[in-house]
Symmetry: C2
Subunit: 332 residues, 2 copies
Amino acid sequence: MNLEQVARRAKVSTATVSRVLNNASVVKTSTRARVVKAIEELKYHPNLHARNLAGGKSRTIGMIVSNMENPFFFDIYKTVESDAHVAGFEVVMANTDYRSEQLVASIRLMIGRRVAGLAAVVSEMEPALIEELTDSGIPVVFYDVGTPRQNITNIRVDYRRGIDKIIDYLYSLGHRKLGFVGHHAMLGPINERVKPVLDAVARYPGLEVRTAADADTLDGGRLAARALLLSGEQPTAIVCVNDIMAVGALRELRERGIRVPQDVSVTGFDNVKLSEFCYPALTTVHIPRDTIGHLICDTLLAKSGKTAVADHEMVIDPEFVLRDSTGPAPGR
Amino acid sequence: MNLEQVARRAKVSTATVSRVLNNASVVKTSTRARVVKAIEELKYHPNLHARNLAGGKSRTIGMIVSNMENPFFFDIYKTVESDAHVAGFEVVMANTDYRSEQLVASIRLMIGRRVAGLAAVVSEMEPALIEELTDSGIPVVFYDVGTPRQNITNIRVDYRRGIDKIIDYLYSLGHRKLGFVGHHAMLGPINERVKPVLDAVARYPGLEVRTAADADTLDGGRLAARALLLSGEQPTAIVCVNDIMAVGALRELRERGIRVPQDVSVTGFDNVKLSEFCYPALTTVHIPRDTIGHLICDTLLAKSGKTAVADHEMVIDPEFVLRDSTGPAPGR
DNA sequence: AATGGCCATGTAAACGCTATCACCTGTCCT
DNA sequence: AGGACAGGTGATAGCGTTTACATGGCCATT
């Protein structure tokens, strides 16, 4: 089951078998045929660990995401994987579920695997970990977190602009009492996701917002919406941190007999496929996951190859998408 | 960045460092402390490839799924991963997207990685591949495909019973013209998924069914439903191969102004979380993904350990779940 | 004081590959 | 005829670990 046995059977040296395996074209056709035959007869599968060890290089890129359950992350993963395959790379994925111990474990794992590049599409990242990654020398792309460094490239979405577009629109429809549904990963005094909402709200006279947070799932969205509805005055619009939670909110409203958008408007974020399929279809903001995926791959593969790609930081401007879940504030 | 450097720095041999890394308790506390210090100072991360090579064992289990986009697969993955972590194993996932070349590549990859166990949750599997896996000696669990062998365990869902329950119910509500929405992976003369539908239909006098197939996605469901609606007489009920496609179908009906369930009933399969959150909530059949995940892990981890678990084949009986997407046939 | 054991550690041989270098044939030149 | 050269192949030294096996203290036993 190893090179040597194949070599013996094909009556060549292990070096030659290795050449055949790696498509080095120097092997004579007849020899190659003998080797291939031996490989098949023995059902030989090269040991990837040995290969990586000996070769020193990895042809694998790692990707760490916060919550694969949210199609947003999967969409990115999918385009990264497909780009990577084209370039002859594999990608191994790790899901942290927003747990920071899991993040640490995943990063260590990826370093241990000596991946050729690492994409971290996660919402939180401690400085110590960033340090660890910097020192590892592995090319890294962060999405939405951290700052550019030596071997670290950043891709971020102008979340603030997206929120502004949503709030502008809702304000223009007469909404004055807003609710914001976020997820737990964004708790804390001043959060990347909540702050823009608060700031946008502050720009308009008479505009108010209350926030609630829960898990980044359908159920979480539902629960957060319920919390909003149960505490204080009913908002006329609920702004959600992403589409999944918005779909959860939609259900809570429906079951309470609150009509969307007649009684309450709801907005999502990301423009995940599901946002078109839920009822009513979500007004949301489009984040181009495919672009993000391509950017990640280009960066990682270019770095592991020759020169650095464009810049160390790129920001994406999201686009407003109007659908059926929003309408004029009631009584207007 | 390797064992030797750490050893040098801690003034011990590489063997001792290795012992520290592997928690062998024979190391004197003071020595251990020195080594740990050196490891941290050097930010040393053991090379997993070298480890696997030298150790011969892998502590990684592989999982291959057809379509990670469908939450059904993700749910299984998630419980497998969590069980595996508890046992100190990693899991690497591969997504085939229903492409058989990709399946072949993924299997080869897993064998190359010398995984400690492999879960194949895919819809098609050529005999040659099964052969390859058998020979590899890796413990394998198949979901819904193949037959038990030497090192192969099977888990299957009694799909037929699930379908029977759905069709019985629809028939009792007066439905006589059915539509079936399937996905491409199940094309071909007699299919595992279509056959039970045809058989069930054949049992009832006056019951008819037309089928359509498309991709296993929200869009696919929508398109397949459209095909059903556009060709021939409008069915009074649409049975879908899974929840995702059913949600797609729901949208198509909604946009055509066809009311569910007043005009047309719709059923799903799997009882994915989304089936509660779509509108109307889907009548479906529950497949316990967590049970499947546990079964997979138990089997794989037990095998790689000591004795074999229970049997070589286990079948799961799905449960009918009544919600709002089904009702009496129109005019009855 | 010599013997035996047991702990803690060191030495070195795998593990299965890749990659460098050396070697051997022939060809083709001069 | 004698080299230079190139294409094809073999030998072998790593790659970074783990894991026997060997070694050396040190204490308890006789």
